[in-house]
Symmetry: C2
Subunit: 238 residues, 2 copies
């Protein structure tokens, strides 16, 4: 197997920046479990695989890396044995009926968790505002536990999308209706807001059905991925 050259190391490292991912239309996936799942389920999406194991091979698209080289290309404190460079595919889905819309979600861990809950609850598509964290950020990819390959996502001007959709638009607001008593079905756009500031004013104006999660204790708020999962659960339970 070919050894990873200095140039390739430099090229892979460059993909840690969004600007370069956008130009190359490639991103990085780390970890044995996720890379092996990729090889099995989406082999066409793989540009190449880097392994510290000299016996590993994949369709002539694999390179061997020393542990030191792997450390250089990895974004993890403890690099894994396998790392893949993966093609970004356009997975826009046209007839989505059950949609999450993210209004400037910033934290990569939250974004990854939201991909995972969207995947669990069978959300058709995630629409992200332009300032939402990039889903191909390595921490998002990691936290998504593979759901990034299953949930279609699209970045767009959120107000534009919401103005045009014919689906009902839901958003969690303090003065909203109790989610436990409101009739909810798996059809519509559910907006989740920024971690610190919530849903922005221009997006609030477009909410048709304000909802809220009742509080039984004293915590001031819920994490956005937690709130999202409780809402998705309510939409799905009937």
């Amino acid at each position: 197997m070919e050894t990873l050259s200095k140039n390739k190391i430099k090229w892979i490292r460059s993909l840690q920046r969004k600007k370069n991912r956008d130009i190359e239309q490639l991103f990085i996936v780390e970890g044995e479990k996720m890379v092996r799942e990729l090889i099995e389920q989406h082999p066409d999406q793989i540009e190449c695989v880097i392994s510290t194991d000299t016996n590993f091979s994949f369709n002539g698209l694999s390179y061997h890396a020393s542990e030191k080289s792997m450390e250089q290309i990895s974004s993890l404190k403890t690099p894994n044995k396998l790392l893949a460079v993966v093609k970004i595919v356009d997975n826009k889905q046209i007839d989505a009926q059950f949609i999450l819309a993210l209004d400037d979600i910033q934290d990569p861990g939250n974004m990854g968790t939201i991909l995972r809950i969207a995947d669990w609850f069978g959300v058709d598509k995630i629409i992200c505002s332009k300032n939402t964290v990039d889903i191909y950020n390595s921490k998002v990819v990691q936290a998504s536990m593979g759901s990034i390959f299953r949930v279609p996502t699209e970045y767009c001007q959120l107000e534009d999308f919401l103005s045009k959709t014919e689906l009902p638009i839901y958003g969690a607001l303090l003065e909203g209706e109790n989610i436990y008593t409101k009739t909810l079905e798996r059809k519509g756009v559910i907006i989740l807001g920024n971690e610190g500031n919530g849903i922005s004013d221009s997006v609030i104006d477009l909410i048709q059905e304000a909802i809220h999660i009742p509080r039984f204790g004293q915590a001031e708020s819920l994490n956005v991925a937690i709130a999202g999962s409780i809402i998705l659960s309510e939409f799905s339970r009937r």
Copy 2:
């Protein structure tokens, strides 16, 4: 205001280790929001407050720290202006009816989030197995967003506690009953298992009511705090 001495710096740093927290019965709280909340709501619990602001004072229990000293005592990458050393209080609650039992939760972020959702849903108490991450770990304190001061917790031999309780014991298992169709009320012990291994065999044996969260999509699993929040929501919604 007195300046923080080298000895005090050493003493506060020592509280980053569980062993020393156990001996001193003290832990560290960082961040302006949480420290100000503490001063307002639980002033008796405060041993001392460290501030980079020379104008700050609190009952003769405050010290001034240079930014460099604050960096030395902080566990955060970007230290805050305020840090408090806080007394561990015994907040065991006797007549708890709605309990979360944690079977070896390891991740501090998950533990903090679980404290926060328990606080939101008005859980009376959290029972932790002996191998569950320490709630006074700085990352747990941070992620709990103040809920650590409101939710009573206790560490014990989990199997012992479960064998003795007269409350119904619930646990999420694959073969469990659908939480959306089962009648659930806010009375009982809900077990949440370890991130990688789930609920341990000896604890599974003590589950009386196996439940499960139905899946609508393809994600392999849910994060433990997410699963916990969906379950607590179902117990509370009626």
